[in-house]
Amino acid sequence: MILITLSLAAILVAWAGTSYGAFTGGTQIFFAQRGQSLQERLVIEYVYFVKGPPSKIEVFARNVGAEQIQVAAIYVNGTSFSGTSMAVKSPCTLQSNAVLLTVGQVCEFDLAYTWPTSSTMYIVAATLRGNQASYIARGP
């Protein structure tokens, strides 16, 4: 009887330990990711319209946060630019379909987009961690 009780107790303690371990591990990952996401600060500091041809919009985005940022996509009035279509200029590079911005770094994106004269552009840059930086500009 005692043996059975001890066995069950051992199983219970092991189960509880595993559960608590999973819980704390998940919590650690959750807070770490939330913390990293929270430390992202991406700003679009300038937008320049190039009449062309070809027409394009030059977007200058800067990482002013405390974590490095990976820009996954840029949207211009709902049109998505991702991967090579972001046309990031040197020294910034495309890595695994995202553009890495270290802390304080600014990158220029040349988006091939035909913009109507005097039209309003709603530009959004999205990071892999789910943050966004937006900018509203009116074309010349």
Partner: protein, 376 residues
């Protein structure tokens, strides 16, 4: 005994987990606090550009030859900042396309002086030296029609911008030899809105015209390539009695006449325009308000044209003048003599011109004057 030990061990395990989670949460909360403080710092930045904004250019060595050096003066009304980058965007010549200036220890093309990038809290008239290649000069700031926009980006991500040269505001630019005219405004009255017409250059006018001639306005000088505001009239038209009557007569429309000389080398076409004036009324009823007006008609070489048509046919040839008439609907001057005295107008008229083969050209004209009761 055994049960107690089991419960205790489970309880201790849970306690350890809770302590661990609390530590994680504390760490996360510290991050929240740090980033919140960063956000507060970001929005505590307050940079203000000091007139004239940019001075120069002066030629200095560097840039693989000569550099055009501009001196930008700013004041910091917020916390300490660090300038990360400066963008300059000009219309026409200069920084078109955009010039991007990064910090540099010494004079180099498209840079600004690295040592000037820190601006202390409360520091006033801080100088930042900008270096452009010798072949790149910003458009002439005279007359002061904005031709360049300068964006100052800080390391915290704020952007402060200003136009250069500064657009005319208030009476601050009276002395500037530019497309700003100031002085006593001429007032003209006509019998009704049908008989309003251009006052003659010597003070004559149409039927019922009464023109209080004062000293000549400060005329604008300047260089070719811009439009100039020469002098304004205000014509008050109304139905019925002479103005002012003080007996509550209905005053319907005010026309403002503005005379422009085309000093460009090619004809201009006035296609549209509007005028916003701020009326600061003193006397028996002090108040200030804005009144908007639209381009009503043109008078060119003795012929009147309604706005909206080709204005005028063939355009305004160089070195000739055109009279623009703005109709200020929905507003009338005060109806008593006492309150008329001391009434002041100030406003900015914007005219869009389509220059042949050169796209659209916008001209801003600042009106400023004192409305004096006529002696007639």
């Amino acid at each position: 005994m055994i049960g107690g030990m089991i419960v205790l061990s489970i309880f201790l395990t849970a306690l350890a987990a809770m302590v661990y989670v609390s530590q994680q949460y504390d760490t996360y909360q510290q991050t929240v606090n740090v980033m919140s403080q960063n956000d507060i710092d970001r929005f505590s930045e307050n940079l203000q550009v000091i007139y004239p904004g940019l001075a120069g250019p002066t030629s200095v060595s560097g840039c693989g030859g000569a550099c055009n050096q501009y001196d930008m003066t700013i004041s910091n009304l917020g916390i300490g900042i660090e300038i990360a980058r400066i963008y300059i965007n000009s219309t026409g010549s200069g920084c078109a396309p955009v010039c991007i200036l990064d910090p540099s220890l010494t004079a180099a093309a498209y840079t600004f002086k690295r040592a000037d990038r820190f601006v202390n809290p409360g520091e006033t008239v801080h100088s930042v030296l900008l270096w452009l290649p010798g072949s790149v000069a910003l458009p002439n700031p005279n007359p002061p029609a904005p031709k360049s926009t300068i964006y100052i980006v800080t390391t915290r991500g704020r952007v402060f911008s200003f136009q250069w040269p500064f657009p005319p505001v208030g009476q601050a630019l009276q002395a500037v030899n530019a497309n700003v005219a100031s002085g006593t405004m001429k007032i003209a009255y006509t019998g009704n809105d049908k008989s309003s017409k251009e006052p003659g250059a010597t003070g004559g006018g149409g039927s019922g015209y009464c023109h209080y001639e004062t000293a000549q306005l400060v005329n604008a000088g300047g260089t070719a390539g811009n439009l100039y505001f020469v002098n304004p009239w205000i014509t008050n038209t109304f139905y019925g009695d002479a103005f002012p009557t003080g007996n509550g007569q209905v005053v319907t429309t005010v026309y403002i006449y503005a005379n422009f000389t085309n000093v460009k080398s090619s004809p201009i076409y006035v296609t549209t325009g509007n005028l916003l004036i701020q009326v600061a009324q003193s006397g028996s009823s002090d108040k200030a308000y804005f009144v908007g007006g639209t381009l009503y008609s043109l008078n060119y070489k003795g012929t009147a044209y309604l706005a909206g048509t080709e204005n005028p046919p063939g355009g305004v040839t160089p070195n000739t003048s055109i009279l623009l008439i703005y109709r200020m609907n929905g507003w009338h001057p005060p109806s008593s003599a006492d309150s008329v005295e001391g009434l002041t107008f100030s406003g900015l008229a914007t005219i869009t011109n389509a220059e042949t083969g050169n796209g659209y050209y916008a001209a801003s004209i600042f009106l400023d004057g004192l409305y004096i009761r006529p002696s007639c």
